[in-house]
Symmetry: C3
Subunit: 151 residues, 3 copies
């Protein structure tokens, strides 16, 4: 019984948990990338941040191309990763074929890593491919959860 529900005794749940935490750590990598660009470029959004840097004449800046790029990447993460986290958990409970489910988790995680790296490197169409693959995987799970549920 336990092996079909939300417990680490259920191999599919254990896989979901691992990929969920991986993709969250990947998102925090973007948090770190934002911090890296802000500090290395000396670009901060708030007056109190600029003041601490002790640079004469520094002003808050909201339009630095590299920092704004990372922020757009981060926002795209927010548009996709929490949805995956919620839908993936519900999907585990629909009792899917373990092999198929595992590939949903793997493709999503790989797709978001591809998206992150190609956004930072500014290369297309890899970024679009990563974004699209992640989105389609989540939609596939959401449709299966919707069919298993009752409105």
């Amino acid at each position: 019984m336990a092996s079909a529900g939300l417990s680490f005794g259920n191999p599919l749940f254990a896989a979901y948990a691992a990929y969920a935490s991986l993709v969250i750590l990947k998102m925090f990598f973007v948090t770190g990338a934002t911090a890296y660009f802000r500090y290395s470029r000396g670009v901060f959004a708030n007056p109190e941040d600029v003041k601490r840097r002790l640079k004469k004449g520094a002003v808050p800046r909201l339009d630095h191309p590299e920092v704004e790029r990372v922020r757009r990447l981060h926002l795209n993460d927010l548009e996709n990763i929490p949805a995956f986290l919620a839908v993936g958990l519900l999907y585990v409970l629909t009792g899917p074929s373990p092999g198929v489910a595992l590939w949903h988790f793997r493709v999503f995680t790989a797709a978001r890593c591809l998206h992150t790296l190609s956004y930072l490197a500014a290369v297309q169409p890899w970024r679009a491919l990563g974004f699209g693959a992640g989105l389609l995987t989540t939609i596939s799970m959401a449709v299966q959860v919707l069919m298993a549920g009752t409105l």
Copy 2:
């Protein structure tokens, strides 16, 4: 026992799962709307996206009114939908009256659809009404979860 917890054998969980996936698919509709406006208006945020469109003289643009409208709508989704997804799941486990709980899920889902459509159509006060109803529903669930929990 199973019918009171997180399994599709529990009718209330099955309802939560269905509304959760609906509201996620609605959010992805906004993702699609952003793509539609970007492509149809030729408005992209990154230099590498503009380059691929093969339009001479095209530059990245961050201030197109229609695109920015969809982006604000999307951000409002992010401020409300992940909170609903998390709180709704915990709320199912507090053992609420099924009828009352079902209406929480329905009102939230309908409210976010109203918010989305009225944001796109730029009509008030419907947008504010949809936003407020969704927020109040989530607060109601969060308060009930807080009372069932222990700090």
Copy 3:
């Protein structure tokens, strides 16, 4: 058995649920703060909002320092709180030491409250401290979930 899983009979889950709803209500406090600054300062992002205020000559504005400050704070919440909600739930299921787990939830909640208040008050390094403590707590839980899961 029930006391080790996702049910309010499990004291650790009951604690997670309480802190999760607290932190969501805190996030909605920021939603309220945005509304407060928008109304009190008369700063709205959409033409249809300005029209309803019945002020002659009012135009949508996207660069008011106080409103943009609250919006940056809100975005930082979105970058951290949904991740905590997902990882915290999975972390409960890894069977951690209850005392250690409880402090993870408490530190995260206190850290996000500190971050919110010090962002609104524009004081550093308290904001950075709140942000960092919340992030480290979530990373700690994510790593433990990753180790309990299977890729």
